[in-house]
């Protein structure tokens, strides 16, 4: 009766270390991919809210144009920025994302300026459609703020894993790039000049 002999392949210590390193690197890579996907998901969440705002802006401007003849410059700037934000971009390209978020930030700043200017036009301010539009706009801004927090949290997690060794090596091999943060509008961080709002 023929006998069959099985040889157990026993790994040596160097092979086991190499295997552990490979497994660790793979797990790290998986975590980075998962974090990048999470950041992209959060970015798409921002885009949903930005689209909501973009579709709201024409209605707001339509009402405002008949009252705000002296603010043509501001209104045109808003239209231009709105078109920029609504334009397609590559979410996997960090520079394109940074530009997109920068435009969104500028639009936010100009819209804030616009809402303040509305205060100077009592008729416009009390217009029922404008009041409703402002309320909806504020709701959307709240949603954008929440989406920004989610995005920044996801980006923070991704960037930390990329910047930490051996993440930096794995990221460069796997072509995973850091993503830009969506920072709050700088105008909101400026100190407020109370004198400008108080009666002389």
């Amino acid at each position: 009766m023929p006998t069959v002999q099985f040889k157990m392949a026993i790994l040596g210590v160097p092979e086991m270390i190499a295997l552990a390193v490979l497994a660790g690197a793979y797990l790290w890579y998986m975590a980075m991919v998962s974090r990048r996907n999470s950041a992209l998901e959060a970015l798409s969440g921002i885009d949903v809210q930005l689209t909501k705002r973009a579709s709201l802006i024409p209605n707001v401007l339509k009402i405002a144009r008949s009252f705000m003849n002296h603010e043509r410059g501001l209104l045109n700037e808003i239209v231009e920025l709105r078109n920029k934000v609504a334009a397609p971009y590559d979410p996997k390209d960090a520079d394109a994302v940074a530009q997109h978020l920068d435009s969104a930030k500028q639009l936010s700043s100009r819209m804030g300026q616009f809402m303040l200017t509305v205060e100077n036009y009592p008729e416009l301010k009390s217009n029922e459609t404008m009041v409703m539009a402002q309320k909806t706009y504020n709701e959307v801004e709240l949603q954008i703020a929440a989406a920004r927090r989610f995005y920044n949290s996801a980006v923070n997690s991704l960037n930390t894993s990329i910047q930490t060794f051996p993440g930096n090596l794995i990221a460069s091999l796997a072509n995973i790039e850091e993503m830009p943060f969506y920072e709050a509008d700088a105008a909101h961080l400026q100190p407020v000049d109370a004198d400008a709002y108080l009666p002389a």
Binding site: A42, G45, Q143, A146, A147, F150, S153
Partner: protein, 359 residues
Amino acid sequence: MSAHLIRGIESFGDFLISITEKQSKASDPSQYRSAGKDSAASHYNLHIAPFAFEYENKRFAAVQEVKSRLYYSVAAVIFLISVFIIFGQNAHLLGLAEKSTRFSGLPMWVFIGTVVLLGWWTHEPARQFYADVRGEIYPRMFMYFGADFKHHITAPESITEDIVTSKIAPYHTYSNISDYVTGSHNGVGIELAELELSRRNGKHGTKIVFDGLAVALTPKRKFDARIIIDQDAGALMNKLSGLLSFGRVTLRRVKLEDPTFEQLFEVYSDDQIGARTVLTTSFMQRMVDMSRKHHLDKLSCSFHDGKILFMLPTGVEHFPPLTLFRPVDLEYQFRQIVNEMQLVFGIIDDLKLDQDIGL
């Protein structure tokens, strides 16, 4: 006895006046009521204390009735036993059987049935008394918080379903929910019920896993996201509970920026953005402040279907069972109810749930 009761009522009145004065700057119950309404003390003296005498009389009457029915019942049972013994032992002499019979079979069932009926009949005045107290005194107590406050002895199925679907309840096999209260505070709908959850422990035992209040609030601001705020159990336990909670499969952990909030709570939601719309930085701060202020170390809550459901493990019996053998302690009960409603109003005010400006 009456003099003792009057002294008790007076001392409770003094107690309420003293707490009203002490809390006038901090958490005066009247701050939760509209101007012109009675303070807790005067409400007690006006609307509840007079009934203390009436209910004490009712209790005496009920005790007397139970006692006399008990005597009749005991006499009836002794009579029945005697009849069975006499007839059983002498059945052969009376020609009912060939030899003396044992106390079993149909006679035994007749005896048991009669004892049960007598027991029910004896206890009936007590049951009627409890129903009267719960049905008449609790509405008087809750009147203090507003005309829309209603007390019900039994809780509807919906609140139990809310607790089950909220996924904040600990694992349990039995639930006991009672004393359901509805009302509103500054436009925020309030539903609360006393809740005890327990699970099997060994072959015959049970272990209480939750004892406190289930509070459902309907804030003015509407929200779509489903959010669970649970106690933080440490990094490893959070990970494990996230993996093992089958009901939370569709919910993902929401990592928030506030480190103090993150230390105390763990948040899960089906909508990362919706959850952050609700859990703004100021809301998180208010949650932290509120849990510290009211010493709610083990607070957990759920945002679902436009309602916020809190499980407050107070460990206090807010609606203690009544007994015929002690005076009706309306003082204690009203004090407990005022405390518990203060807690609920405090949660609404501290979390600004009455404002439609974002939570």
